[in-house]
Symmetry: C2
Subunit: 209 residues, 2 copies
Amino acid sequence: MTTFSTAFQKDLTQLMKWRRDVRHFKTDPVDEALLQECLDAFLMAPSVGLSEPWRLIRIESHAARTAALENFKAENDKALTGYRGEKAALYASLKLSGMAEAPVQFAIYCDDGTTKGDGLGAGTMPETRKYSVVSAINLFWLAARARGLGVGWVSVLDPERLGRDLDVEGDWTFVAYLCVGYPKTSSDHPELEQLGWEDRRNALPILTR
Amino acid sequence: MTTFSTAFQKDLTQLMKWRRDVRHFKTDPVDEALLQECLDAFLMAPSVGLSEPWRLIRIESHAARTAALENFKAENDKALTGYRGEKAALYASLKLSGMAEAPVQFAIYCDDGTTKGDGLGAGTMPETRKYSVVSAINLFWLAARARGLGVGWVSVLDPERLGRDLDVEGDWTFVAYLCVGYPKTSSDHPELEQLGWEDRRNALPILTR
């Protein structure tokens, strides 16, 4: 039984506390070996039936980055029209993506057509394949933060348009667009909380049956 | 900028490597304060627009546990009929849930109707609320493993039947059934790999655009 020290447990809590969804990145490049260390988290992530359905596309070219950024801008403008008054002004002031600056960017997909794992565990809940991808992203997120890198998850995107622009295979489902790089600032409070959009709960209600 | 030591980074890798989906639990009770420490991970988890849509139901009563276990057994029997020959024999030999033994059990839901976060980030991808729940589960999973506890995620269940049996509100979506307790064994290899169901990849292919 591999055990972990109390000191490690405390540091892990600090890591979770200081992990952030980063939107403000320095443009400094990320060392490829360091990035690879973080990406190794995908190889250790849980997946339903060992299906490992995550598919990564690194967004490098000017054309692909521009297409993704334009996609975000269009959807962010649309989202703004859904708010009124103060909330609209606040939304307009938020920076919801670091896509213009982050040196490393990935579009993460789920291969729902994978035969790996032979469907085990996904019969009644095929969505668990996408949940496996999300699980891997979270391990990557923590591994990156532990190494001083920040990760920002952008969801204000039209998945269909992104798939067309990136020439993605038919049965892959878009799960997340990740920006990776060195964060400009560090905080133990989410930016949305700092800027007054929403508070975090300080207790977890649990029902009992 | 809060930084983490190289020693911590290595321990974090070990944690990810030794985290397991546990199906073999001891029946020893789990200290409530220890469990609470693990559950605190939910309060630190990322969520789209700070919506914090996770909803936990602790499954305690004999009636609720029996209903959940019967649900699993029925769906597991059905799943078996989808395999033939050697694969069927192997599937039949697998233990895919610790529901009969695990001292602590949760059904985890997503409240898709929550107004918390005012829909930010979920406009084009409402599924990100469920992904937030999955993110929190993964943080809980690591926090538990760091404290010697094991977590098993059961997905071989009929969500609709479970919702009826647990008398769950209409707009909550079932995400995961978690078994929690002290694991009987410890390994850095997934049980499905040890038993020959499926191998893990040892490299992560990445496309570029």
